[in-house]
Amino acid sequence: MNTVLDAQKLNKSYTLGKGNEQPVLRDVDMQIKEGEFISVMGPSGSGKSTLLYNICGMDRPDSGTVLFQNRDIAGLPERELSRLRLNEMGFIFQQIHLLKNLSIFDNIILSGYQARTRSRMEVNRRAEELMERTGITELAGNDITQASGGQLQRVGICRALINEPGILFGDEPTGALNSSASEEIMALLAEINRAGTTIMLVTHDIKVASRTERVLFMMDGRIVAEKRLGAAGAAAEQVTATAATAAAAKAREEHLAAWLLEQGF
């Protein structure tokens, strides 16, 4: 399997006031393989979001390299980075961060129109498809104030996928959702992953992490441990299937929790 993303020795610190440097990332190494479904776990403030923003080009690390599709993105100019994010990456956030003054449909097609790789007709068609796949077709013309949190996160996912990115990044995508909505979103992500999209999530929720294939554990700016949980898709799908498989998912979650406890979570 190809490595989609390879980060080496990432360092990042924030200056708080004069001379008070606070390191947030310390020599972080991580790789993401094509088609993987990976999560980064860790307590709040451990640097998970910072890691995400630094490997996707939204922020620049103080030192270290980030190879995305074998290209070093640390040195890319702003415009190139933007284009990379627009065409090759998708993002979903905890606060879904939709544009308030656009309708739900317009929010989804926005990046598609901006990318200009497809005709607008095609973008519209793809948006309709995605909305159908995520079950929010009827929301198309609505304002974003006229949808629930779970629905909005589906909108966020549709938006992230509009340009068919190779990789999808998520920062606590279920953080603002209740547990059933959260389960649904995870099932959806697993399905998307099975369809070929690489996914990296950042979360502090064990339940969420347990639905992924590989979990990195982060503390104080370092990745301190890694756990492979095996094919996630099957497990996730089972969540919606039967009570028996629900029990299996529960077991997987407990297994992860035990491991995390070992690591000092």
Binding site: N101, S103, Y113
Partner: protein, 778 residues
Amino acid sequence: MLLLRIVRRDFLRKKSVTIVVFTFIMLSALLLAGGANLVVELTASINALFEEARASHFVQMHSGPVDREAIETWARTDSTARELVKEMHVQEMLTVDGSSLFIDGGGTVSEENSIMDISFVVQNESFDWLLDLDNQVIDLAPGEVGVPIYYLQRYDLELGDPLRVGDATYSIAAFVRDAQMNPAVVHSKRFLVHPADYRVLSERFHEVEYLIEFLLNDVDRLGEFSAAYLAADLPQRGPTVDIRLFRIMNALTDGIALAVIILLSLLLMGIAMLCLRFTILATIEEDYREIGVMKAIGLSRRDIRNVYLMKYLVLGASAALTGYLVSLALNPILTSNITLSFGSAPVPGLLRAIPLGAAGLVFLIVVASSAMILRRFHRISAVEALRSGGAGETPRSGRFLPLRRSRFLDVNVFLGLRDVVQRVRLFGILVLIFFFCAFIIIIPVHFLGTIQSPSFVSYLGIGRSDMRVDLRQSEGIGERFPEVVSAIKEDPDVERFSPLVTSRFTLVQENGEEEPIAIESGDFSIFPLDYMHGTAPRRDDEIALSYLYARDLGRDPGDTLVLLVGGEQREMTVSGIYQDVTNGGRTAKAPLPFDSENVLWYTISLDLVPGTSLEAKMHQYSQAFYPARVTDLEGYIAQTLGGTIGQLRRVTIIAVAVGVAVAILITALFLKMLIARDITRIAIMRSLGFSLRSIRAQYLTMTLSLLAAGIAAGTLFSNTVGQRLVSLLWSFMGAARIRFVIDPLQAYLLLPLLLVTAVSVTTVLSISRIRQINGGIQ
């Protein structure tokens, strides 16, 4: 104190907004105080000059022999004159033709093509003194000459420079302030020499003209005196002028600049008000919750309002005061022309307070309008404020103007435009301000262009022609004129020409009173004039009046008036009204027979056959037609209105600078606020992969489309209402319907481009400040 702490915190929190509002208030106070100062100085120094010079109240110009005895006898015996005349004298003026006068540093350029009547005189004994730049009565030694300040301005002369008349050279020992003939619009200039030199000169030049001058006991009865003089059989071959005309003429040059400055200050005031309104509303919106809390804990509305009012009180007071202080520093520049023309007179203490009062007025308006806008506090209910936590804009619907319907527009341009349409109320203020900016810039530029264009002659009461030959009344001119006319008639280089003769007639008013009226006669169809109303006079019982004259006489086209023509009363019908700012705005035209005794001056307008050198012809004519003055039209305008144009040019530069500065400041301010408000939105888009450039495109679309709307409205408004405003201004001087001469390249390309560039650069710089991508997201 709590109140002050809140005020201070507010200043610090909104530094840039505060600075911009401060700047606008300061600028409008500065200009208003400067304008007020200009008014005060202008009046004071004209008054002072008239007083120091003991300016004549009534002057009859006369060419031809003068019997001083007869005039003195009349002054002693006539019942009106006896009562009114305080002092009188007759000043002899020696006419020197321009071709023998070399002023330009004594050098090589003669005054051959000057439109001025140049005379040499000696100092008067008891009144109508010619003063130096210190307003002292000039007393010259032999070999010295006093030169009118008109030439000081034209040639940048210095004391000690040589001046040549024929083969005699004089040293410039003084610059002459001449209460009567200072302004460029008065086409006569008096040079001062020592009596000994005057005698020598009068051996070489033989033509003299007389000023029969009177000082009256009661200036208010000037009309009465004038009628009495004209009724008497006294010398009157030449124009009659009086102190009222001197005043108007003197104020003209600076008056126009003054009007523009005051207009500018009012516009800036408007902008300051808009900014104020906008910032106060923004503050209220921001502090909505806080205000709710204050109300909830029982502070009265009045208390809360005072907290905010305090801020604008401090802001308004400091800005107005700063404006006033800066105006003190700038005043010398604005009044430089006044100072030169009239001297700097001590302004009486009380009047000195007027500019300060003007600044105070700005302050009061600021406070009053703040108080008015702050009345909105009443509408904030504590419960509502706490619950909603924001006054909130009207919710913006996403269904409006859907992106999916856009087919061709670039996404960023579309988003920018959509935002403009969605937030019309917010952006309306910006459009209005851009509109003001455009207006501020366009009006003076158009005005300047108009006054500089050759077609401006139509406001000088003359038709458009290549060249003018002027002969004014002097000995033997009655014979000279036909010679000149026939020479021109013979000249194959002349395409067409039109001789016009201005002579004096008597107007008989309804109450039987008679007054002199100068009427130009000839064929008015060759170089036609633009008429405001009606047409040119064609029959010998028709007359056209200048705008101001018609207004004074209360006549409209179709009305009649009675003239004495050849001793008989003739009823004339007013055929038309034209615009004329010369001769105090009071002239008339009628195809009447004239008798050479009453002729004031002769004019021949002519067009040359295409391809003929204007300059060579002018030179040829001024040699051949001595003592005629030969000028081209542009020279005529430049020499007549040169000072006004210069002053206006200065004001125009200020106006353009102010307009652009306001546009820049406002754009920067708005974007700062907009970006602060849109920070999350920008962060979202950037995280999705919109480059900085795309974001910039969105905001450029916004500011430029708003600017375009503002410029379009400003241009439209300037060309209509602005034109009328300028006309209103000029109507006091005789031109009531100014039509702008617009240079399309300048008006529709260069000026908009200037604003577009300023706003674009400001936008780009403002946007480039957003470096952080994820700032609003985490």
